[in-house]
Symmetry: C2
Subunit: 174 residues, 2 copies
């Protein structure tokens, strides 16, 4: 179950990175060649890097399921350390992906509406295909975020159920 | 401990909302009065609303500690439902606050650097005091986010340690 969720998250993250990273459109505006690509807006750049790193991390986690013997602890204690590590890394991943996706969404909205009071003009009436592709990528990234939130909840569950319900931070069975 | 964390998060969130919401600067540019306020950028608007709602939610949670008898369940089962509710609401709060803060940060960076290739000009060389106040607010919001992440981890801990470490979703002691 967890492996399946991680696999779909990895695929969606790779898809997002590719959609944003390979998106570019060139147009002639006032006799000048203008090119739109993901380097125009800093949030899109951040999205490409964050989704790539998150995809790589989830791929590594998938390897953990495929070759369980490499990572198998020989004691309960090392299992607990591994669970803490997974928990923290999963939390970091999901926060970073969710935050960069939201930042990209807000900047894209700015590109659609413009900001008249500070004379930032609209971009999407000129680069329509570019904007649609970015929109699709942001949808993918949000679905991936939701899956990652589920994965992070599962890893929190796997960690915290090792502890006693009565005393704070006391390991069960010890 | 949890109450203390929630109290500081609430205060920081209120401070952020006030700093962003009351921030405005008027300047004469090319003989035209220009006013910068939080309504210029959609991410700043989002930040004001998100931090206000999150502060209200954490204030309600604080009331739960101050008047525990109102919320006290009369069985183990109702305690578990309450723990699930707190867990989900805390998760939603922390994701929303973290995401809107990051979106505001990205748009503010855009306001500092501008985006030359699409002719979005810099804003912060004209509205310097405004930008410094927004910067301070974003710092506050990030500190509040970190505290909220800790609070969400504690509520996850309080929920999941009720469950058995052996079988999936089996309540301990049942």
């Amino acid at each position: 179950m967890e492996a399946l969720l991680r696999l779909s998250a990895t695929l969606l993250l790779v898809l997002t990175a590719l959609l944003v990273g390979l998106d570019s459109q060139t147009r002639l505006i006032f006799f000048v060649q203008k090119k739109a690509s993901f380097t125009v807006l800093n949030a899109l750049e951040g999205l490409v890097y964050a989704t790539s790193i998150a995809a790589a991390y989830n791929f590594l986690q998938l390897c953990r399921y495929t070759f369980p013997y490499w990572f198998e602890g020989n004691s309960k204690k090392s299992y607990r350390y591994l669970a803490w590590l997974c928990y923290i890394l999963d939390q970091v991943t999901v926060y970073v992906v969710f935050a960069t996706t939201s930042a990209a969404l807000e900047q894209s909205l700015l590109a659609i509406t413009g900001a008249k009071s500070v004379q930032w003009m609209k971009l999407c009436n000129k680069f329509t295909r570019f904007c649609f592709q970015i929109g699709g990528a942001i949808c993918c990234a949000y679905i991936a975020s939701i899956i990652l939130i589920l994965v992070a909840s599962i890893s929190a569950f796997n960690l915290f159920r090792l502890y006693s319900p009565k005393k704070f931070l006391l390991v069960k069975g010890s």
